[in-house]
Point group: C2
Chain length 371, copies 2
């Protein structure tokens, strides 16, 4: 039997529009297809390049919507046809990751999968890979493994993982048991978590043997597991896949993997967390984008956009330009200006989380053409 | 001899880009061609409609740049061909008004002209016209008359007129002598002027017999008067106008009428001021536009633009839209957003005066295409 590391397969669920990043992120140009750091690469491409050294380019599967197939293939020319899983309609993370697990488990029964969002930013990639290596060992030991990020500030935009005692797993010296998952806290609670030291950010990274993951899904909802395995059995043959999707997809339950797998497994003592001391951000709103781009210097004005033409005087915050218009800022601080051909957003970093409300209002008023 | 009112001729100098209103105002779409109040009429059209009841539509002359001929004629279909004076190049207000005076004096030696900027906003038009009627009488008495606006706040964006004693002119009971003209003051000085009560805003309105105005110009610069009268002598014959313009225009001195006429006439006791108790604003920047549009309520968000599509949450200030893009504001206060096809401005009402600096910077960097 080959080593755990050799049996590793990367899974990248590439869904989610990123409403808080409207009007940059859209249904037809979701967050993972944007370069939000000015690196010259989209978040999806960066995710791929981060995983390729761990899994090898032939062992990364991408789960995405049918509408994004062409864009994903353009970003990832190395992606094998058999490794792109197209969702008939969005069904949340348990289906995205569970279907990948079921397909891969049929192809390779002892495969270990690691799922990483397509639209997060990670720095210190060597530390990231060393942490994943420990998670793979914990997964090989039969646990569902997650990676928790050491918080660097009392963030209120992330969920937290409350750590319990050490697990003492061979090859995963840092692995801890998980006490509980905690939803996004208020500021006072987040400050207490930071001071406590025993709380890590939930970065939504899950590493597990594919068969173990399916077992957890089955414990939570046996019908869902059955449907995912039926889909997987039909998947690799074009003749059977279509009918199976038509029949089964509408019945698939929409639920986040945190609720279906992580929380129950934690409660039952089958979840391990590996603390990660690398830079991580889910780039959830434009305040995050500004912070990432400026390296944390609040006095700066960050500019994103290949052809950005910005003239700024006594201003700070972020400008995202998708046009070649002249953008002029005078005396505006912590400002967020997002300039796209059909929609303009002006807000402040402090209000960045509220962008989702605008998207909701636009939906309600039927102005879907800009969403 | 006909009455002074019957000899009145309106003159509208329509020049000046309005740099502080960039990117709305441009070289090819100057301030006077915009509707800055949401009335549905451009400032030029409103100026015309304000003067027509006083002078009659056949007795209003417009002085503007060659580039604006078509736009002016579209705005003012009633304007007679002989009453549009096209400047070969901008030469400031003494030339614009002085040339009109010289042309009209040749046609009608005892004409009284009244010059009113094309891009100011006036409310209480009946009061305006009653004030002008007094100024016409003062002009007929041989004085250079101006109208000073009773200040309603300690504005620092306007020049002030320091009033002296009553003049006791028949038909102009409110006419006062002018002590001096004062440049734009600082806030403390403006507050002192407001408290004093003897200071009026200089609204740049001048009413005078055309021959008296030319006499004042001649006292200041006899060569300039000679050139204006030579131009006027050649003006009404197409065969002679062109050569005269080619020869004389480059020699015309650029100087504001305040310096060439108003200040020297005031110093010599030949200037009268009629206090005007009507609403007036020179709409010098977007803070003025916001104030005019909101009726002074700072908590409001004013929106200008026929097809404006604005979605605002907890925001105040002004949005000027020249596109049909969705403009979304979240939690921004006293904001100024001006959205045009090739340039976007984001600033605050407090910084509105600084917009001119951006225009200067764009000029310096050679980006004339957006100016």
């Amino acid at each position: 039997m080959s080593s755990a590391a050799e049996r590793f397969y990367g899974v990248i669920p590439a869904g989610g529009v990123g409403s808080r990043l409207w009007p940059l992120s859209r249904a037809d140009a979701p967050k993972f297809l944007h370069d939000l750091t000015g690196s010259g690469r989209t978040l999806l491409r960066s995710t791929w390049e981060r995983l390729a050294p761990l899994a090898g380019p032939d062992r990364i599967m991408v789960v995405t919507g049918r509408a994004h197939r062409a864009a994903v293939e353009e970003q990832l020319p190395e992606l094998a046809d058999r490794n792109i899983v197209l969702e008939a309609a969005p069904r949340d993370s348990t289906v995205a990751i569970g279907l990948a697990a079921a397909i891969l488990a049929r192809r390779e029964p002892d495969v270990i999968i690691g799922s990483f969002a397509a639209d997060h930013v990670i720095t210190d990639e060597n530390v990231f890979r060393a942490t994943v290596a420990q998670a793979i060992e914990a997964a090989d030991a039969g646990l569902i493994a997650t990676i928790g990020i050491h918080p660097t500030e009392p963030a209120i935009g992330f969920g937290y993982i409350h750590c319990a005692g050490a697990l003492e797993i061979a090859g995963a010296p840092d692995a801890l048991a998980v006490g509980s998952f905690v939803e996004k806290p208020d500021l006072a609670t987040a400050q207490a978590y930071l001071a406590d030291g025993g709380y890590l950010w939930n970065a939504g990274m899950f590493i597990a043997r594919a068969d173990r993951l399916l077992e957890e899904i089955g414990r939570f909802d046996s019908g869902l597991r059955t449907r995912l395995e039926e889909l997987a059995a039909a998947w690799d043959d074009q003749a059977t896949r279509g009918p199976a999707v038509d029949r089964l997809w509408p019945q698939l339950r929409k639920i986040a993997i945190d609720y279906a797998v992580a929380e129950p497994a934690a409660a039952a003592g089958r979840l391990a967390v590996i603390p990660g001391r690398f830079g991580w951000d889910d780039v959830g709103d434009f305040a995050s984008v500004a912070k990432l781009k400026s390296g944390g210097r609040a006095s700066d004005l960050s500019i994103l956009g290949e052809n950005a033409r910005v003239l700024a005087d006594a201003s700070s915050g972020i400008v995202v330009s998708q046009s070649d218009r002249i953008i002029s800022l005078i005396g505006v601080h912590d400002i967020v200006v997002v300039d796209t051909p059909d929609a303009l957003l002006v807000t402040t970093t402090e209000n960045a989380q509220r962008v989702k409300n605008v998207v909701d209002a636009l939906k309600l008023s039927g102005r879907d053409e800009v969403l």
